[in-house]
Subunit: 379 residues, 2 copies
């Protein structure tokens, strides 16, 4: 066995749809020595993480924890715990991550109906109401910030109300929104919300915050069948995070250090200041994109503050620009995903990456690359 693999990390400016850059304090937290997952000192760190997650979700929900996996594991926890075989569920699909929920829900034995709009648009309240009336649904799940299209679903409070009027749980994907734009779980009456560590929170990738309200806890405790997933089964996981402190699995210790430090930084900045920083930088970006004579996929009122989708102009090549941003400037932006492959770039301004100087930089770099010319867009 030989090691010829040196660990080399290049300098990058992370302006993709995640991960975002991490503050130095969070990197330092990661490098602190590992301790046991049942060490009294770690249990205290867990309590701090839980309390600060409640603050950022704007909830009093007791069952608020970081799931030991990435945002997609949070999504799977949010679905698998509340679906029993034969349940019918309604999923809002406004992009790639709505599609993912459809796929997941099916794996747990649900009959899945979808309410869909073209990518870049958002769900209409009247249409959702109509769809909810067609069948008896166990849950309605929608995406708050759809990173694949750059759209932000409005009217979350009204969507939750519609779901409840039809006897369904309301599940919200806040992977790309939590910590960057307001997510008001209690005020909006969201039953289950989940997120990721590496977007607007700027912790290390590998944890998925989730919060479960009373209505959802009841559904969980009234299940007739076991949750079809051991690792993400919240009844068992909560015994470790709750008072019992029963071993379930070894928590990712250092990822929780990083989450703790990142949430402390969020608290120090304050939610309002943080949201306004994100909005200001996004608006500066949007103005700059228009000045470059480029268009955005999503109309302004539905635009996701944390991730902007920019249409590749006919005069440019998706791949050429993306490659030169990375190779000549160290700037990462996201590629178009799924049906938008080759058609958009996705520029993320999330968490520690949401900085005025980065907006200025990416606009200037785009201007230089486009001015220099290069291969036309083949798409």
């Amino acid at each position: 066995m030989s090691s010829n693999h040196k660990l080399t990390i290049p300098d990058r400016v992370l302006l993709g749809p995640g991960p975002s850059e991490m503050p130095a304090r969070v990197l330092q937290a990661l490098a602190m020595p590992v301790i046991g997952h049942l060490d009294p000192a770690f249990l205290q760190i867990m309590d701090g993480v839980q309390q600060m997650l409640r603050d950022i979700f704007q909830t009093k929900n007791k069952l608020t924890i970081p799931v030991s996996g990435t945002g997609s594991a949070g999504m799977e926890a949010a679905l698998s715990n509340f679906i029993e075989p034969g349940d019918r569920v309604l999923i809002g699909v406004i992009g790639y991550f709505g599609e993912r929920m459809v796929d997941m829900a099916g794996r747990y034995g649900a009959t899945v109906d979808r309410i869909e709009v073209p990518w870049g648009q958002v769900l209409d309240l009247e249409e959702v109401k109509k769809a909810l009336g067609k069948h008896s649904y166990k849950l309605l799940a929608v995406v708050h910030g759809e990173t694949s299209s750059g759209a932000q679903q409005p009217n979350i409070k009204e969507l939750a109300k519609l779901a409840h009027e039809h006897g369904a749980l309301f599940i919200l994907d806040t992977v790309a929104s939590l910590g960057g734009v307001p997510v008001e779980v209690d005020d909006w009456n969201v039953d289950v919300a989940f997120s990721g560590s590496q977007k607007a929170i700027s912790a290390s990738p590998g944890l998925a915050p989730i919060t479960i309200g009373k209505r959802a806890e009841e559904v969980l405790s009234n299940r007739k069948t076991q949750v079809g997933n051991w690792y993400l089964s919240l009844s068992e996981v909560q015994k470790y995070w709750g008072k019992e402190r029963t071993y379930h699995h070894t928590a990712p210790i250092q990822l929780n250090y990083a989450m703790h430090e990142a949430l402390s930084i969020v608290a120090e900045e304050g939610l309002e200041a943080r949201f306004s920083r994100h909005r200001q930088n996004a608006e500066k970006l949007w103005e700059g994109i228009e000045e470059l004579d480029m268009e955005m996929l999503v109309k302004k009122e539905n635009r996701l503050v944390t991730v902007t989708s920019v249409k590749v102009p006919p005069s440019a090549s998706h791949d050429h620009v993306k490659k030169h941003l990375l190779e000549d400037y160290g700037i990462e932006v996201g590629a178009g995903l799924g049906q938008l492959k080759g058609q958009i770039w996705r520029i993320g301004l999330m968490g520690h990456s949401s900085r005025r100087e980065y907006v200025t930089l990416v606009l200037a770099a785009l201007r230089e690359i486009v001015a220099a010319g290069g291969p036309q867009n083949a798409n």
Copy 2:
């Protein structure tokens, strides 16, 4: 939102059943800046991790990756990908983690039979052969190093042969063994082996190495139903780790840095030297335990080199000793789990924690605490 939670990490000597201590180089790797999960530089790191995982598993299996969760997620990946509803499986239960496999396999719709021995003992070849003959099994899964009891299952090559003679896949839990004792996936003909990052590899908790052989890959590609778990579905995960590089979920970037560095250290030490260090330190511990007039649960030839289970003597209290080791010496040892609660301590000598000085320390500390007296064992 306010932050009153300061991140405080106490000094610890980690001699429990995991996590083990991490070398400074691995801690430093964790603190390196995050980059994108599709960044060419990260793809190179992934290639290095995969190659070094093959080396430590002693296999040429192409599909060898770290699953983005802890060892239990690795276990769930190893079962869920190969079980379809209605399959019959045979699980060897020699302790807590065998029980866990029974629980998991049931959640994916398998009819689960168990072959069982009292905790502390190991499976007998003849009994396994008899059990395999009773029904047609899709797979036989056994635990190599059972951390709950401190037993190491011998005859893995023979068990794999028996499974194959009966048309079953052979799945091996190497969470507590990989990197500390020989695990020879190819020579032993193991179809699926999985492990954890935080035991004898001494990387950061949150990744689960897994390797899949040809026979198992075939079973996977011949499935009639979708894998009942999205996050751990290897057909999709391998498209990210393989040539396609298709996005599946955001890899825990920094955990992979740590894994890369930890595996480089394993390679520099060399597998043989590493195994012999583990064995020497374990034997020194065993001798010392006997000199303290304490007994071990497992007879010498079946003892797990990485985790030793020490019976709580009638003159001592499980909780009192454990508490004083932690509070007065900073030493973490493991408690008895499940049916062995209160009856044993579990002393781990794994990876970077397997050091001569730690053996000397824990024995001396035990001697001092026991000599000082204290509450009798209530159990």
